[in-house]
């Protein structure tokens, strides 16, 4: 339980949060028609006769949308309902050609599940917490209205209409903005791992309806409001904060919270009531008679299960236990699909190049991936071409470093050149002289010169002034313009100085 509290004029208040997340299912075609789901097409070009609800048109469900919902359900350890149905939610609006949305009220495809949000002191999460998920159901997205193109008309574009959405409904288990934010971020991460949603919140592929209520600690739930279509983790946290604060002030001023739908205005950072329609809540749900019950067989479920990738929690645990990474590194590396994918590719490539076990290299590769490489990339800014940042090139750099051919500083320098030019790292190391000298003969010669030029210091060292060893190392490195492998220098010096 988080100890997040709102300090009101009359005492402390607790906030209770539930999220309904709409996530666009990754599929080529729409839920009930074969028109395309791709983003950004000309208006009404991705509209079939079915999407436009022409008379006599009928829906047939897309298997991939069902499959993705099932896989998502499995990823949150949810009950998968082998029997589910589609229902019609009836209301009139210009973005809803059928006059009803096909959704699932009575028999959703996914039942109870859960999601773990990890402790993160810095983010205000003192300990791990499991958030309950009530259900996931599949439904149609609506079209879009444009209001600013004509003085007296709104324009309707049905391209989005009929795209499959998953509605993922949490339990009211969250009690702070941080938890709500962490829940959404984690959910997004899971969806992206599973590949059931691209998680592009700014394109609207994922948006949350935020249910907020406040109460005195330990008392029953208060009346909740629902703030619609919040499209970033930061905004969700902001909505919780401002809406809880608004409700507390309202109640403390003697008012009551009305159950209503609200909108968030990111510019002002406030929520406002949507004009409520008098019959908004009489949706007259009933089973869609154009569709039959969806019955899933074991083979289908097995395929769904088998196709699931390693999920964030499991991956994080493996990184710590098998690869020996720190908890921090493991969390950082597993948060985003792209991050772990880059890390794992690079780790495999490096292990292959060196013929070493992944576990032995993991920490080095993790450090490179999380701090060294991003640092170089950032310092170069626009000069860098990320396309040059291949796993192969990076593995070559790590290999040279591991073999003692280049120093850490040289690795960065080589990577800089690679990012700018796309040249081969080994060729860069050779051509630019960015290599440590490990040739014992050459180093020995230099060392001899250094010792000959500093006979007095040699005597002092042999007389017990151990600290002078560092001086000889420094002189040797200077004589070799810093290219000598320090380890080799050390060894030879020890021999010579006896």
């Amino acid at each position: 339980m988080s100890n997040y509290r709102i300090q009101g004029a009359t005492g402390e208040w607790e906030v209770v949060i539930g999220l309904e997340v709409h996530a666009q299912v990754t599929s080529e075609a729409k839920l009930f028609s074969s028109s395309s789901t791709s983003f950004g097409a000309e208006p009404n070009t991705q509209v079939s006769l079915i999407d436009a609800a022409m008379p006599g048109m009928l829906p047939v469900p897309n298997q991939e949308c069902i499959r993705q919902a099932v896989r998502t359900g499995m990823a949150i350890n949810a009950q998968i309902n082998k029997y589910s149905r589609f229902d019609r939610k009836n209301y009139f609006y210009a973005d809803l050609p059928q006059g009803y949305q096909i959704s699932q009220l009575y028999h959703p495809i996914v039942g109870e599940g859960e999601l773990l949000i990890e402790a993160d002191e810095k983010a205000g999460l003192p300990e791990d917490k499991v958030i309950g998920i009530e259900r996931i159901h599949v439904e149609q997205d609506a079209g879009k209205l444009m209001h600013d193109q004509h003085p007296t008309m709104s324009y309707v574009d049905l391209n989005r209409c009929g795209v499959a959405l998953m509605e993922i409904v949490s339990r009211p288990d969250m009690t702070s903005p941080a938890e709500a934010g962490a829940y959404l971020a984690k959910l997004r991460s899971i969806l992206r791992y599973v590949g059931s949603c691209d998680g592009n919140m700014d394109q609207g592929s994922m948006r949350a309806d935020v249910n907020v209520s406040v109460r005195r600690p330990g008392e029953p739930f208060g009346t909740r409001t629902e703030t619609k279509n919040v499209n970033s983790v930061r905004f969700v946290m902001q909505v919780v904060e401002v809406e809880a604060r608004r409700q507390v002030e309202l109640i403390e001023d003697g008012g009551t919270v009305v159950q209503e739908t609200r909108l968030f205005d990111p510019t002002s950072g406030t929520t406002r009531s949507m004009r409520s329609k008098e019959d908004a809540h009489d949706y007259r749900y009933f089973p869609d008679p154009d569709l039959l019950p969806v019955e899933l067989d074991d083979a289908f479920l097995q395929e769904c299960k088998a196709s699931l990738p390693e999920l964030p929690d499991a991956k994080r645990a493996r990184y710590v236990e098998t690869l020996g990474l720190t908890a921090y590194n493991a969390r950082e590396l597993t948060a985003e699909v792209e991050t772990f994918a880059r890390f794992e590719t690079l780790l495999a490539e490096t292990a292959k190049a060196l013929g070493k076990d992944e576990a032995k290299l993991a920490t080095q590769v993790a450090n490179w991936s999380l701090s060294v490489a991003p640092g170089v990339l950032k310092s170069l800014g626009e000069e860098a071409d990320p396309a040059h940042s291949t796993a192969e090139a990076q593995a070559k750099i790590l290999k040279m470093q591991d073999a003692g051919e280049i120093s850490g500083g040289q690795a960065k320098e080589i990577y800089e050149i690679v990012l700018k030019t796309g040249r081969d790292p080994e060729e860069v190391a050779d051509a630019e002289g960015l290599k440590q000298v490990s040739d014992t003969g050459a180093i020995e010669a230099k060392i001899d010169e250094v010792l000959a030029a500093n006979q007095d210091k040699v005597e002092q060292y042999r007389g017990g002034k151990d600290k002078l060893f560092g001086f000889f190392v420094g002189q040797t490195m200077k004589a070799t313009q810093g290219k000598a492998n320090p380890q080799v220098v050390n060894e030879i010096l020890k021999q010579k100085l006896g």
């Binding site: 009139f92 050609p97 569709l291």
Partner: protein, 552 residues
């Protein structure tokens, strides 16, 4: 704005002969309610005949006496051309305006299909099972480029850019289209009086009376057209009896197959869980042929049956030896007219004569079927008809200063007829908050019990024999004052609809007033063959040959 053509005017410009001027005056009189397909088909044209170079001895009226099989065989044998058939029926359609059976006539379409068949025959190509047969198509089937109105104002002028699966299959089998036939608005009705394009008048009259009679409904344009020899056959749809009851009222034959046999894709929906298309024709054999052409799996319809279509025509047999026929005792109810009871008794004797054993069966929930139907069908309709909102097609009524929701309410008030509104409101009410369980869910549970009754009954029998309707055709206007009384006429047809069973009506004879009566055969799921065979046995023994005297 997308300009809406002034239909009456565009038709006027395309007509140059006297016929056209006469029709134009009629359009003006009717306030332009009728309209043609968007491509401006010349209505009821007789202009095509000059292409015919053959001299025939057979008169044109003879051809309109022929059914599907006779036309197909005659065209195949070269007794007459498909074009001659199309011309004969086009002429019949043109001469039957008083019946108001057609909303849109498409004589060119009929001729074009006929010419294609004649060309195929000349080229020695194989002909389809419906080759050369011109049809009336209920104006509920979307027909590409031809107005599809559902007999409503709200869809007046709607020109689909797609063809319904069933009509497409018919064209592929070589059939042609005479036009779009009238119906009750959105197929809601039992008398064809709810059409925005005016009531259909039955070609039948009581002896010694010229009172206008109902052709039945909702497929009343189909039944009237076939009975009056305006078409050898027509498509119908049946939600609670809309093929069988009009067939019974007009002395023709019609079958509603098992739910899912015919694709619903492209048919304007009334009640999705009940709607089924089927043929309406002169006899059982023609129904078998045409149903075979209409039926078949359609991946675009989730409720379509994914099973092969049997060759029903080839397997027709009137020999019922070893078959058991069930007589439901609950159907002997008050309100059953004496002549209908007598016809039912005749039917029992005929089926015995055909070799069947007759057993009494019980369908205990029969009395609840109508109530269940009049919750489920309106509930589904209230949602199915929500799409008619004036945004994407059809009528838009936009009063000055109206917002979006006002536009919906104005458009729907202007676009729907009274019966449609009544059903939408009942349906909205029974689904509304707090009433779902008491009405809709309860009705669906009772529906399960009704279906269970049939399942139990079919353990004792192969088919069920019952009247199609409790009375012969009633007069137009007789029942319009009391919607409930109209609903009661569906009492024998609705149970089979609720259970999704195949059922057909076959004419059994005339009553004392000279009006046809129909007998209904209800079969097991997927057993259209059993239904057709029993129907054939009835047909052979009934020897029904009566036809309405031409007065129109």
């Amino acid at each position: 704005m997308h300009p809406r053509p002034n239909t009456a005017f565009s038709v006027c410009r395309k007509l140059s002969n006297d016929d056209g001027l006469r029709r134009l005056r009629r359009y003006a009189r009717k306030g332009g309610k009728r309209r043609q397909g968007a491509q401006g088909f010349i209505p009821n044209s007789r202009l095509g005949g000059h292409h015919d170079t053959h001299i025939r001895t057979r008169s044109v009226t003879d051809l309109t006496e022929l059914g599907i099989k006779a036309i197909r065989e005659g065209v195949k044998a070269g007794d007459f051309t498909a074009r001659e058939v199309a011309e004969a029926f086009n002429a019949s359609v043109a001469g039957a305006e008083k019946l108001n059976a057609f909303i849109t006539a498409t004589p060119e379409k009929a001729l074009a299909s006929a010419d294609a068949v004649d060309a195929d025959r000349a080229a020695g190509k194989a002909l389809g099972s419906m080759a050369g047969v011109p049809l009336g198509i209920k104006d509920l089937f979307a027909t590409e480029g031809v107005q599809t109105s559902a007999a409503s104002h709200i869809l007046e002028g709607f020109t689909p850019q797609y063809e319904s699966t069933v009509s497409r299959k018919l064209w592929e089998a070589g059939a042609g289209m005479l036009g779009k036939v009238n119906l009750d608005q959105f197929a809601m009705g039992s008398s064809n009086e709810s059409s925005y394009f005016g009531e259909v008048v039955s070609p039948w009259r009581k002896q010694g009376s010229d009172a206008k009679l109902a052709p039945g409904g909702s497929s009343g344009g189909s039944s009237a057209a076939v009975a009056a020899r305006l078409a050898p056959a027509a498509t119908g749809t049946d939600t609670g009896g809309s093929i069988r009851q009009p067939a019974a009222f007009t002395g023709i034959t019609g079958i509603k197959p098992t739910y899912g046999r015919c694709s619903r894709w492209g048919i304007v929906a009334f009640a999705s869980s009940l709607d089924q298309a089927g043929p309406m024709a002169k006899d059982v054999t023609d129904c078998a042929i045409m149903l075979e052409a209409m039926a078949g799996f359609d991946p675009k319809d989730s409720t379509s049956l994914d099973m092969p279509v049997p060759n029903w025509e080839a397997a027709l047999s009137a020999d019922l030896k070893g078959k058991k026929v069930g007589i439901p005792k609950e159907y002997r109810m008050d309100g059953l007219s004496a002549d209908v009871a007598k016809a039912w008794d005749d039917g029992v004797q005929w089926l015995k004569d055909a070799g069947a054993e007759v057993v009494e069966i019980s369908l205990p929930h029969t009395k609840y079927a109508l109530a269940s139907y009049y919750i489920i069908a309106p509930a589904e309709a209230s949602s199915n008809l929500a799409r008619y909102d004036g945004v994407r097609y059809g009528l838009r009524d936009l009063p000055e200063g109206a917002n979006l929701q006002d536009m919906y309410a104005a458009t729907r008030a202007a676009g729907f007829g009274d019966e449609v509104k009544r059903r939408i409101l009942i349906g909205t009410y029974v689904l509304s908050a707090g009433f779902y369980d008491a009405y809709y869910n309860q009705a669906q549970k009772v529906r399960t019990l009704i279906q269970r009754d049939f399942t139990n009954a079919f353990e004792q029998c192969d088919v069920i024999l019952a009247p199609t309707a409790p009375t012969a055709a009633f007069a137009l206007g007789e029942k319009t004052g009391d919607p409930l009384e109209m609903y009661m006429g569906d009492v024998f047809s609705v149970p089979a609809s609720l259970a999704g069973l195949p059922a057909m009506s076959v004419p059994s004879g005339l009553n004392a007033e000279g009006l046809p009566l129909g007998l209904q055969i209800i079969g097991k799921p997927f057993d259209e063959q059993g239904v057709l065979n029993a129907g054939l046995a009835l047909e052979e023994r009934a020897g029904f040959t009566a036809k309405p005297q031409k007065w129109w």
